[in-house]
Symmetry: D2
Subunit: 305 residues, 4 copies
C-alpha cells in the first residue's frame, strides 16, 4: 500500500499540473453546475487500507458508473438467463449502436452502452416489487452506507432533455426487448444514473468486485466468483464506450466511466480506485481521470496484463 | 502446476467427449486437408514446467495467431509511432470493418483484424531489408527453435482465393495507409499466415508474453514490460473477432485464435497455453478450443479477473 | 380514354386471376380488419373522363399516400425554405434511415420516408393555427369533397403500437430538427395517415398533380407548375421505399403507395390513377396494385420514359 | 426547336457568367490536363434538328456516361436475365456501397454505380468474342460515327491509380458475382471509360434513347421500346450518384454524368442534350452542367414531370 499511496500522491501532483482540457458534460444541464477544477482520487484495498487525495470527499453524479451496479443486481437475480436480453461484446462505435440493435433484433451489444443499461433497467422493473427502493437498499448494503441516495434534481434535468433515450427505449420496445412501459423504464433509468457519491464512497462501494464478490467488512457474498469475474471482464472490454480499447491498452484494469467525470477501476484481489475530474475528453470520459489512471498504472506497475 | 496439468487432463477428457461441431475452414482449400478429429493442448509456465495432451506434437497452420508476432516485431521496431497506422479498439463486427476503414481514413481499428494485420505487414516491409528472412529469424530466436518455417503450399493456397484480401489491401492503399505495392504486401502477409507449429511449439513461442517480454531461457528482452502488457491487452479486447467479448467474458485470459483451429492464451506471470482442434464455430474460432479454455479457466480458477 | 379504360378492364381481369399473394399490414391492428380480396381501380383524366372497376367505391385507409398532400401544403406555405428541413434524395434502404439521420444532422433524406413525413408534420404544426382542421380543409377543397375525414379509430390503433415512430421523432428532436413537442407532432401525424378514401376519391384528389397544380374543376392554382413538377419528381425517385427504383423501372410513372394497400400514380398532363388491394408484398407495397400498374403501363404504352 | 435553341443560347450566356466553381477531377491524373474554362452544349432532336454553342466540338473523356452504353449492350444481349446480376434501385449514398454489396450478396444496387458497371463489364466479357472491338462497333454503329475510339492514355492513367476499383472488383469476385479474372474485367472497364467524344457526338449517340430505341437515321432498332424506357428510368433514379434525387427534382429529365465534366440528358420522344464543363461540384458532377440543365429545363418548360 505504501507503494500505491505514494504513486497516487505523485501522479496526482503531475496530472494536477497538466492543462485541464475538455468540456463539462453539457447535455444534462444540471451537470454543468459543478466546479470544473475539482479533482479527487480514492483507493480502497481488499486488505482494508484506504487513501485519498484532493476532492475525494465531494459528491458528484456517478451517471453511467451505476450501470455496473444495476447489472450486478440483475445478474444476481436472473443468473445466466440475463444474457438472452443483452450481449457481452464491445459495440465498436457509438455510431453503430442503432444499426446493430436492428440487425441484432433489439439485443444490445453489452450492458454498458445506453441501450443495454435501459434493457437491464427493464429487467429490474420486471423482477422487483419496489425497484427504486430495492436497488437503493442493494447499493447501501454493499457499501454499508445508508446515506447513498438518488438526486431528483439530476434525474429531472436528464429527463427534460432525454429525447435520445426516449428514442432508444422505444426502438428497443418496437424490437420486442422492453417488457414494461417505456416511460416507466426511463424514469427508473434516470433515477439510477442520478446517484451521487464521493470518490471515497465510490471506491468502497466497488471494492466487492476486487474481492471475488464478497463484502470485505463481513464476507457477505454479493455475487459469486464467476459472476464477479465476468462483470470485471465486461468492464475491461466495454467500460469506456469508443475508448474501451484505449483504456485497456493504456491502463490495463477493468473500469467504468460516467459523464459526471468519475471513473472506477478494479484490480482483482487488490483494490478499487475512484477518480473524479469533471471535464470530459471528446469520447465522453474524464480527461484528467484517464491521464491519472494511465500514469498511475505505469508508475505502480499495476496492470493485470 | 500439479493443479494446472490435472485440470488440463480432466477438461481434455470432458471436451473430447462433446460433439465435434463446427466446420473445417473452407475458404483456404489447403486447410481442409487436416484430420478434423485432431485435438491437442500444451502448457508452458514461466517457472519452466510443461505439460501436453492429445495431438500436441502435430503441426498445424497457425494463421491469424501470427498477427501477434508480426505486431510484436513492428512494435519493437517502430515503438509508439506504430499506433499512427493502426488503432487499438475492438471493431464491433466484421460487418463494419470496411465502413470503419472509410470513416477512419484507412486506419484499421486494431492489428488483429485482417485490415490491421495487412497494415502491420506493410510496416515490416518498409522497415526490414529482408522481411521474410528477418521475421523468421525473429520467431526462431524467441522460441530457440530453428525448425520453424513458412509453408509455401498453404501460402499459395490462400493467395489463390484471396480476393477479399486483395480488396482490403487495395482499399487501404487508396485511403493512403499502405506504402508498398499491394501485391508485395499480400505475398508477405500470406507467408506470415502460413507458418506451421505444434501446440508445444506455439506455447513455447508465446511464453515471453507471460514473462514480461523476456525469454525464459536466457532472459533476453524481446519487448519491454509496457509493450508486453499492451500486446496482452490488445489480445484481450480484440483477439477473437466478433467473439472477443465472449472469450474475455467466459475465459478471462488474453488470447488469439486462427482459422487453422489453433488458440493461444496467456496468463501474465504464469503460463501460456496452446489448444488446437480444427473445426470452427460460426464465428471462425475453434469450437473445441473455445470450450476447452472456458472449462479449464473455470476448473483451474485461472482468470485474470 | 377508350384506350385507357379498355386497358384497365383487361389488366384488371388478368391481375384479378393471379394468386393474391402477400400479407395484410399487420403492424396497425385496425388495418387487418379489411377484406383481403378487395381490388379496385379508378382513373381520372385531365380532360374530365373517369372510369373505375372493382371495389373502386370502397373506403380504405390511405396511410402514407397522405405524405404527398402534407408535403404539398407545407411546400405551398414555406416554398423553397422547406428543403432546409428535409432532403430530396432516395434513402437507399429502410435499414439506413436511422444512420443517415445521424450523419445528416437530423435532415431526413426525403419527405416520403417516415422521418421526412414527421418533419413535414412538424412544419405544418408550426405554421398553421389549427393544423387538423386546416389540413382537412386543404384536402377537401382540392377534391371538392366535403366528406373526406380522419378516422379516429385508425389513428388510435396506430398510436397504440407506434413505438418506432416515437423513437424516430425523438431521435430527430434530439438532432434538432423537430420544433414542437414530439407527442403533439405524432398525434397530428397519426391523424394525417388515418384519412380514408375510395379509389375514386383518391384519383380525383390527386388529379391536380397531373394538371400542373391546378384543379380541373375551376382552374384554382393549388401549387405552381414548378412545385407540381418537383413533387411528381419526388414521387418518382422516392415514392415506394426500397422499391422506388423497381416501380420507376417497371411502371415508369410517379406514384406513392400506402400500407393500407393503396397506390396512386400520375401521368403528367394526362391522368391520375388509383389502385387498391390490401395484401402487401415484402417491401410493404400492394402486391396486386404493383402488378396491375406494371401491366397497365405496358399495355397502354403509358410510361413517361 | 426555335424555342429550345433560343433557350440554350440564353441560358448558356447566363451560366457562362456565374463563377466557375468546383474542381477538376483529380483522381485520374490525365483528366487534369484540360482547359477548366471549357463549356459546350449540343442538342439533337428526334425530328433531326441540331444546335450547339461554346466548346461543343471539343473532345472530352465521357467516363461514367459510357455506363449507359455498356448497359444497353449487355441488356440487348442478355435481356431480363441481366437483372439477376445487378439491381435497379438507387444506392442512397456512396458511403453505403460496400456495405450494401455485402448484405446484397455481391449484387450491386444499380448499373450506374462503379460496382454495377464493373459487373456489366464482366457480363460483356463473358458474352462477346472480342469485347473491346465489338463494343466499339456497337457505339460507332449507333452514331454512324467511325471515328469514335478509346483513349489508351486515359485508360492507362486511370489504371495507375485505380486501387479502389481493384478493391471493388475483387470484393465482388469474392462474393461470387464476377465470373472473369478481375484484372481482365478492370482493363476492359478502364477502356470503356476512356472513350472521348464532343458534345455533338455525345448528343447524337444518345438520341436513340429519346427515339424509343431506334436510330433516327435509318430506324434500326438498337433496343426495343420497353428496354429503352427502362434504361431511361434507371438514368432518372440512379444517374447522378448521391445527387440523383436533386437532378430529378431540379431538372426533371433522365440523365447521366461523368467525372470528365460531361452530362447527357434525354427528353423521351423529343431530344437528347449534351453539356460539358470540366469543373465538378462536391458530388462529382459538372458544376456548370448541372446549373445549365436546371435553368434550361425551367426556361424551356422542358421536364417530363
Amino acid at each position: 500500500m505504501m507503494n500505491l499511496s505514494e504513486a497516487i500522491r505523485q501522479v496526482y501532483k503531475n496530472v494536477g499540473n497538466i492543462e485541464n482540457e475538455g468540456q463539462l458534460a453539457s447535455y444534462i444541464p444540471e451537470l454543468a453546475n459543478v466546479d470544473p477544477e475539482s479533482f479527487g482520487v480514492f483507493i480502497s484495498t481488499t486488505d482494508s487500507c484506504q487513501f485519498g487525495v484532493g476532492n475525494c470527499d465531494d459528491k458528484f453524479s456517478i451517471q453511467s458508473i451505476v450501470k455496473v451496479l444495476s447489472l450486478a443486481l440483475a445478474y444476481k437475480i436472473k443468473g445466466g438467463e440475463l444474457w438472452e436480453r443483452v450481449g457481452v461484446e464491445p459495440s465498436g462505435t457509438a455510431f453503430n449502436s442503432l444499426v446493430q440493435l436492428e440487425s441484432d433484433n433489439g439485443i444490445p451489444r453489452n450492458p454498458f452502452i445506453n441501450a443495454g443499461a435501459i434493457v437491464v433497467a427493464d429487467v429490474l422493473l420486471s423482477n422487483l416489487a419496489n425497484p427504486r427502493d430495492e436497488f437503493l437498499a442493494f447499493v447501501r448494503n454493499i457499501s454499508n452506507n445508508a446515506s447513498i441516495d438518488y438526486s431528483p434534481k439530476i434525474a429531472k434535468s436528464e429527463k427534460a432533455v432525454g429525447f435520445r433515450n426516449v428514442a432508444l427505449c422505444n426502438f428497443i420496445k418496437d424490437l420486442g426487448n422492453i417488457k414494461n412501459n417505456p416511460c416507466d423504464v426511463l424514469d427508473f433509468y434516470y433515477d439510477l444514473c442520478s446517484i451521487e457519491l464521493t470518490c471515497k464512497e465510490l471506491s468502497e462501494l466497488f471494492l466487492f468486485l476486487a474481492n471475488n464478490g464478497r463484502k470485505t467488512a463481513d464476507g457477505e457474498v454479493i455475487l459469486n466468483t464467476s459472476q464477479t469475474k465476468r462483470i470485471n471482464a465486461l468492464m475491461q472490454t466495454c467500460g469506456f464506450y469508443d475508448e474501451s480499447g484505449q483504456f485497456t491498452f493504456k491502463v490495463g484494469l477493468p473500469g467504468k466511466s460516467g459523464v459526471g467525470g468519475g471513473i472506477i477501476a478494479i484490480y482483482p484481489n487488490k483494490y478499487s480506485i475512484a477518480v473524479w475530474s469533471p471535464k470530459l475528453n471528446s469520447k465522453g470520459n474524464s480527461h484528467k481521470g484517464m491521464k491519472f489512471l494511465e500514469e498511475f498504472s505505469t508508475m505502480a506497475q499495476s496492470s493485470i496484463f
